[in-house]
C-alpha cells in the first residue's frame, strides 16, 4: 500500500484513503466540437504510460475529497511530489535530483 502526501491536508496517508485518477495535465479542449477525430482520440485514449516519472492524478476520496496531481516513479512506485490541481507541472530534473 502506497503512502501519499495530500497537498491539501498536508498529511502523508495510506493509499486506502485515495483513488487513482489517471494521467495528469490532459486538458479537455475548450471547444470540443472543433476537434478532429484524431485529436479527440488523443484526448480520450492516448496516454503516456510512462515507465519512470509519471504525472498523474489522485483523489483523496476518503479525506478532503480533492483531486490533485502527483509525480510518481512507476518503476519504484515512489512519489516524487504531489501538488494541487492547476499548479504548474513541476520540473522533473530537479525532482529526480532530490531523490537520487
Amino acid at each position: 500500500m502506497l503512502l501519499i502526501h495530500c497537498p491539501h491536508c498536508q498529511e502523508t496517508l495510506p493509499e486506502a484513503e485515495f483513488t487513482y485518477a489517471g494521467q495528469a495535465h490532459i486538458v479537455r479542449p475548450a471547444d470540443p466540437m472543433s476537434q478532429t477525430d484524431e485529436q479527440w482520440e488523443e484526448f480520450l485514449f492516448i496516454r503516456q504510460n510512462a515507465k519512470g516519472a509519471h504525472y498523474e492524478r489522485w483523489r483523496h476520496l476518503h479525506g478532503c475529497g480533492r483531486f490533485f496531481n502527483a509525480v510518481r516513479d512507476t518503476v519504484s512506485d515512489r512519489f516524487l511530489t504531489t501538488y494541487v490541481s492547476g499548479a504548474p507541472r513541476p520540473d522533473l530534473s530537479s525532482l529526480m535530483e532530490g531523490k537520487a
Binding site: M1, L2, L3, P14, T19, A21, V27, R28, D31, P32, M33, Q35, D37, W40, F43, L44, R57, R59, L61, G65, R66, F67, S76, D77, R78, S85, G86
Partner: protein, 999 residues
C-alpha cells in the same frame, strides 16, 4: 521417551501433554513441538515426499522444514494440511496425521515411483503423455493429480475467527535472536515505539540453541531473560508466534500472529490468527541465517538432518536426535553440534569433514571427547529403509574419490554452511551482492528505510550478531534523529566459525544415478538440475520452473542456494551471472483466514439497507442485491411465485396505487451561482432555462458519447438542484462530476454534496396516488394546474419537511416523497395505513422494471451496455441540439457513432405470444448456418404485466427503420419470430400521467 535428556532444554516437564499421531497417543511436554515430541520417542519418520513418496523425517527444526509436514486437527472444521511438525506446538487433544501415503506411513504404495525414479526426471511430463490425445484429460492428468498434492484439503467450514489490525511504529525489528535483541535494546527507552517480533513461541533465536554462550558475564539464558524483562519494562512491544510475511511499499510489513493454535482451549472472542499491517518508520531485519544441507546420495533418509537443528532439538527441547550420530560437514558449526550431543551422552560415531584441515581447537575438543575425525572425506550414500542406519564416506584426494567406508549410525548431522535469510529484504526489491568468500548472496541496497543485521548479512557468532544488531539499529535510529553510540557486547564461549561451500559432494557413483536431493519436498536432485541445464535452461528461473527446485512449501529456503551452486557449475558460470530466483511473499505459508481477517460471513462486505428495508423484511419481501444495496424485489403472498406476485403488483399499481421504496437512488445536491451552468454542461439535456419548481429527465454520457447514467433533476431554487442517479451509479456519477468540476471547470462557483442518505424516498404510483397523498400535503394542491407532471416542491408531508416530486417511472400518476432518512419508515407506514382504503400495494424492483418497460423507459445498464448513445436508445429528444458543448457531445460525433446501421432500442412482440429470454440474440435470417449474423439482442423481457401479453425491449441494428418487420430469435430448440414495434406499449399519449384524467 528414551531420547529425552534430563535437565536439558526449555520444555516444562511438569506439564506433560498428550496428543495423537496417526491415531496413536504420544506424550510430550509443554514447550515441545510435534517434531520434538516424536523425536523424543526416537521416531524420525514423519512424512512422504511429493513425487517419489520417499520416507522422510525432519531435516530442520524451524519454519524452513520441508519434510515433516502433517495434518493437524482440533475439532470439527478445525483441520489444516501441510503443517510443519517443527513449528506446531503441542496442546492437549491435538490430533496429527502424516500425509501423502497409502495405506500407511510405513508402507506406501506410491513409493513405486521411487523405484521408477529414472523415468521421472526433470520435465518428464513435457515429453510424454501426449498420445493418444484424449488420454491426457481422462487418464494421465487424473493420475498425476492424485499422486501429487501432499496433504488433503479441509472439507468443512472453519468455525474459528480471524482478525486484522493496523499498527504504526518507529522501529520494527524482525527476528528476536541476538541481533534483534541488541537492536531492540539500542532503540528502547528513547521514547520511541519499538516492536520486536519473532515467529517462534519464544524470543531468543540462536540463544535458545546456544546456552553455553556467556554474554557480558551472564549465561545466555539468564541474559535473555533479563533482556526481555528490560525491554518490556522499557515499553518495547514483543510479539512472539508472529511471522513477518511480506515487506510491501513504504515500509509496510505484513505480519501474522498465531494466537490460539498452541492453547489447550480457545478463549472466547479470541481470533485464531491476526494479520498486522505495520507501517514502520525504520525496519531492522534480523532474521538470521539458514543452514544448508549437503547434497549427496541418500541425504534425505529419516535421521539425516541439519546439525544446527540437532543442536536446537537438544538444547531447546532436551531431545537427542540420535544416540549414535555421525556428523558430516563442511563448516565448523557442526563440530559444536557433535560436542553438544556428545556432552549429552550420545556416542558420536565420527565427525567427517570435507575439508582437509580444520581449526586445532576443534580437533583437540573432538579428541578430548573421543570422537573419531575424518578430514578430507565426502559422503556417497546412506542406508536404512525408514531410518538411516549407516553413512558411507570416502576419502577424497584431489579429484579422486577413494574407497567407501560404512559408518553405522542412527542419525546423520550435516552442515553445508549457512546462508542469510534474505526473503523480506528481497521483497523490498533490494539488491543482492554476491560474496565469493561466503559463497552466498548478501544484502546490498534497498529503496526502503531498512537495515539488516547479524547473520542476515553474513556475520557469524553471538558476539558479532549482538554488536551488529546494536550498530545497525543505531544507524536506523539516526534517521529518526537519535544520536548515541552503539552499545558494545562481549561474549565468551562464543562459537564463531567458517566453512566451505560445495555443489553436490564428490562421489564414486555414476552421477546420473545418484539420488542427491536439493529440494527435498519436491524430490529435485542434483542430476535433475544438471539435466535442465543440458536441455537449454540457462536462467535460474528456467531451471527452477523446469525442475520445480525451490517451489516447495519451504519456498526454496533449503534448496535455492544449493540449486544455484549446482546450476552455475553446470553452466560454467559464476553464480551472480546465473542469478537467484525472486523470493515471493509470504515468508512462510500463511492461512487464508489470516488474509481474510474479519471479512468473512456477516463481516465480509457491507450490505446497505434503506430505512424502510426492515418493513419490507417484516412483510415478506424477497430481495435482490443491487450494487452494495439489497432491495426488495417483490412481496409474495402465500403461495405466490415471482411471476404471480409481480403480475399482481403491476395490476394493483395500474388499477389504484402502489408504493415503492426508491431510497437507494443516488442523490446529489448541486448548489451555487453556477449550478445551472454545471448541470447543463454535464447532462445532454438543456438545463439553463429549467424553472424553479420544475424537474427534467437527464441523460449523462461519458466524453466518448456513450450513456453512463440517467436520472431526474429538479430545480429547488435558482442556485440549487437536486440530482438523482441510478442506484448502482451514485458513487461513480458523483466522482465523475467532481472530476469535471475540480479539474476542468474550477472556475465555476458550485458545490456538490451527496444527499443519497439524507433522504428516504417513497414513490407512490397509480391513478389514486394523488388522492392518497393529498390529505398529507395541506400546503399544496395536487392538481394538474398547481403541481403538474415534472414538478417539485419543498412542502410538509405528514407534518415533516419534505421534497415532493411529481415524476413517474411507471406511466402512472407518480409522486416521490423525500423525507429526512430516519423519518422514512414512519411516513411509509402512515401512507400504508392511509392507502388501505385504496388497496395500496407495496411493490419491488421487479414490478418497477415491468411497469417502466411497458412504458418504454430504459434502465441504464440493462437496456444500455456502455456502447449505446442517446440516439441508439431512441432518446435523441434528450440531447440539447442548441448546446455548444456538454460531456459526450464530441464523442457522439465520432465516425462509428454516427454511422448507419447502429443498434437501436425498439420494442418486440412475439408472434406466438411467448416470452423472450433476456439476452436472447436476434437474427434476420433464421436459416443461416452457424456462425450466424446477429443483429441485436433482447435487453428486457417480461411476462404478462398489464399489457396482457409478453413484451420485450431489444437493441437491433437499424431498429428504428425496421418498425413492423419480423425478426427471429433462435433458441436451442426452436426459433421465435417477433415483430419490431415501438418501445412504448402502454399509454403512448401519456394520458394516464394526468391527474383527473385516469381516475
Amino acid at each position: 521417551m528414551s531420547y529425552r535428556i534430563p535437565e536439558r532444554g526449555r520444555v516444562d516437564r511438569s506439564q506433560p501433554i498428550r496428543f495423537t499421531f496417526d491415531g496413536r497417543e504420544v506424550t510430550g511436554f509443554r514447550g515441545d513441538t510435534v517434531a520434538s515430541a516424536l523425536l523424543a520417542e526416537g521416531n524420525h519418520l514423519m512424512g512422504r515426499s511429493f513425487k517419489y513418496h520417499r520416507p522422510r523425517g525432519p531435516v530442520a527444526a524451524g519454519s524452513e522444514e520441508p519434510n515433516a509436514l502433517i495434518g493437524t486437527r482440533r475439532g470439527k472444521g478445525q483441520f489444516e494440511p501441510n503443517t510443519r511438525a517443527t513449528m506446531q506446538e503441542l496442546r492437549h487433544g491435538l490430533q496429527t496425521t502424516s500425509q501423502n501415503k497409502y495405506p500407511s506411513l510405513k508402507f506406501d504404495v506410491g513409493a513405486v515411483n521411487d523405484a521408477a525414479y529414472m523415468l521421472f526426471s526433470a520435465g518428464f511430463y513435457y515429453k510424454t503423455f501426449m498420445w493418444p490425445k484424449n488420454f491426457w484429460h481422462k487418464v494421465y492428468e487424473p493420475f498425476i493429480r492424485a499422486a501429487a498434492g501432499l496433504g488433503v484439503s479441509p472439507t468443512e467450514e472453519d468455525p474459528d475467527i480471524y482478525a486484522s489490525r493496523n499498527m504504526h511504529c518507529d522501529v520494527l525489528i524482525v527476528g528476536a535472536g541476538p541481533a534483534g535483541l541488541a537492536a531492540a535494546r539500542q532503540a528502547a527507552g528513547k521514547g520511541l515505539k519499538v516492536v520486536l517480533v519473532d515467529e517462534h513461541a519464544e524470543a531468543g533465536g540462536t540463544l535458545l540453541s546456544e546456552p553455553q554462550a556467556v554474554i557480558d558475564g551472564a549465561p545466555a539464558w539468564d541474559w535473555l531473560a533479563a533482556t526481555l524483562a528490560d525491554l518490556k519494562a522499557a515499553g518495547v512491544k514483543i510479539m512472539t508466534r508472529t511471522t513477518a510475511i511480506g515487506y510491501y511499499h513504504e515500509n509496510l510489513i505484513g505480519m501474522v500472529e498465531r494466537l490460539t493454535d498452541h492453547l489447550d482451549e480457545v478463549p472466547a472472542d479470541t481470533p485464531r490468527e491476526r494479520m498486522w499491517r505495520v507501517r514502520a518508520k525504520q525496519v531492522v531485519l534480523a532474521q538470521g541465517a539458514l543452514e544448508k544441507p549437503l547434497v549427496f546420495h541418500g541425504n534425505d533418509r529419516p535421521g539425516v538432518m541439519l546439525a544446527g537443528s540437532a543442536q536446537t532439538f537438544l538444547n531447546r527441547f532436551g531431545v537427542l536426535v540420535g544416540k549414535r550420530p555421525v556428523v558430516m560437514t563442511s563448516h565448523d558449526s557442526a563440530w559444536y553440534a557433535a560436542f553438544d550431543l556428545a556432552g549429552a551422552g550420545a556416542q558420536v560415531q565420527a565427525i567427517v569433514d570435507t575439508r582437509g584441515e580444520v581449526r586445532d581447537d576443534l580437533l583437540a575438543q573432538a579428541k578430548a571427547l573421543n570422537i573419531p575425525v575424518k578430514l578430507g572425506h565426502t559422503a556417497t550414500a546412506t542406508s536404512g529403509r525408514l531410518r538411516v542406519s549407516s553413512l558411507r564416506v570416502n576419502k577424497v584426494t584431489g579429484a579422486t574419490v577413494g574407497a567407501g567406508e560404512e559408518i553405522k549410525c542412527d542419525a546423520v548431522l550435516m552442515s553445508g554452511g549457512w546462508t542469510p535469510s534474505l526473503h523480506l529484504f528481497s521483497h523490498t526489491k533490494g539488491k543482492l551482492a554476491w560474496d565469493d568468500d561466503l559463497t552466498t548472496f548478501l544484502p546490498s541496497d534497498t529503496p526502503e528505510d531498512c537495515v539488516i543485521a547479524g547473520a542476515g548479512r553474513g556475520l557469524w557468532g553471538v558476539e558479532a550478531a549482538l554488536r551488529d544488531g546494536a550498530a545497525q539499529a543505531q544507524a536506523a535510529l539516526e534517521a529518526l534523529g537519535q544520536t548515541e553510540a552503539a552499545q558494545g557486547y562481549s561474549v565468551t564461549e562464543d562459537r564463531p566459525g567458517t566453512g566451505v561451500t560445495h555443489k553436490e559432494l564428490p562421489t564414486d557413483r555414476s552421477p546420473g544415478k545418484a539420488k542427491a536431493f536439493v529440494d527435498y519436498q519436491n524430490d529435485v536432485t542434483a542430476k535433475d538440475l544438471r539435466l535442465a541445464v543440458r536441455e537449454g535452461m540457462r536462467s535460474i528461473e528456467h531451471v527452477k520452473r523446469y525442475t520445480t527446485n525451490g517451489m516447495a512449501t519451504d519456498q526454496g529456503k533449503m534448496s535455492n542456494i544449493n540449486g544455484l551452486n549446482i546450476a552455475a557449475d553446470a553452466l560454467g558460470k559464476k553464480q551472480p551471472q546465473v542469478g537467484l530466483t525472486t523470493f515471493r511473499p509470504p515468508y512462510t505459508p500463511t492461512t487464508f483466514g489470516a488474509f481474510a481477517g474479519y471479512h468473512r460471513g456477516s463481516h465480509f462486505e457491507v450490505t446497505r439497507k434503506t430505512q424502510i428495508d426492515a418493513w419490507a423484511e417484516e412483510n415478506g419481501a424477497v430481495y435482490e442485491p443491487v450494487g452494495q444495496w439489497r432491495r426488495a424485489r417483490y412481496f409474495p403472498k402465500a403461495g405466490e411465485d415471482m411471476d404471480t406476485a409481480v403480475t399482481r403488483e403491476c395490476a394493483a399499481t395500474r388499477a389504484s396505487v402502489g408504493i415503492f421504496d426508491a431510497s437507494t437512488l443516488g442523490k446529489i445536491e448541486v448548489v451555487g451561482p453556477d449550478a445551472a451552468e454545471f448541470v447543463n454542461r454535464m447532462y445532454t439535456n438543456p438545463f439553463l432555462k429549467l424553472g424553479v419548481g420544475k424537474c427534467r429527465y437527464g441523460l449523462l454520457c461519458g466524453d466518448d458519447g456513450f450513456i453512463r447514467d440517467d436520472g431526474v433533476i429538479g430545480r429547488i431554487a435558482e442556485d440549487r438542484f437536486h440530482v438523482t442517479t441510478t442506484t448502482g451509479g451514485a458513487a461513480r456519477v458523483l466522482n465523475m462530476m467532481e472530476d469535471y468540476l475540480q479539474t476542468e471547470w474550477p472556475d465555476l462557483d458550485v458545490w456538490l454534496t451527496s444527499v443519497t442518505e439524507q433522504w428516504s424516498t417513497i414513490a407512490l404510483n397509480g391513478p389514486n396516488a394523488a388522492k392518497l397523498l393529498q390529505p398529507f400535503v395541506p400546503d399544496l394542491e395536487l392538481t394538474e394546474e398547481t403541481f403538474p407532471h415534472m414538478s417539485c416542491a419543498e412542502v410538509n408531508v405528514a407534518g415533516t419537511p419534505a421534497r415532493l416530486w411529481r415524476v413517474s417511472f411507471t406511466g402512472e400518476i407518480g409522486f416521490e416523497v423525500n423525507v429526512p432518512a430516519p423519518l422514512g419508515r414512519q411516513l411509509w407506514e402512515t401512507l400504508w395505513q392511509a392507502g388501505q382504503q385504496y388497496d395500496i400495494c407495496a411493490y419491488g424492483t421487479e414490478t418497477m422494471h415491468v411497469l417502466r418497460a411497458e412504458k418504454g423507459y430504459i434502465i441504464v445498464g440493462q437496456d444500455t451496455d456502455g456502447t449505446v448513445t442517446p440516439f441508439d436508445a431512441g432518446m435523441g429528444w434528450a440531447v440539447g441540439k442548441k448546446k455548444a458543448d456538454f460531456v459526450g457531445m464530441r464523442g457522439m460525433a465520432r465516425p462509428d457513432l454516427v454511422a448507419s446501421g447502429r443498434r437501436q432500442l425498439v420494442g418486440l412482440l412475439t408472434e406466438d405470444g411467448s416470452k423472450l429470454e433476456e439476452g436472447a440474440q436476434i437474427v434476420l435470417d433464421p436459416n443461416q448456418p452457424i456462425p450466424m449474423k446477429m443483429v441485436g439482442f433482447v435487453t428486457s423481457s417480461y411476462d404478462q404485466g398489464t399489457v396482457g401479453r409478453p413484451i420485450a425491449l431489444a437493441l437491433i441494428e437499424g431498429g428504428q427503420d425496421r418498425m413492423g418487420e419480423t425478426v427471429h430469435v433462435p433458441m436451442p430448440h426452436r426459433t421465435i419470430a417477433a415483430k419490431v414495434v415501438s418501445a412504448v406499449f402502454v399509454d403512448p399519449e401519456n394520458s394516464r400521467l394526468k391527474i383527473g384524467a385516469a381516475a
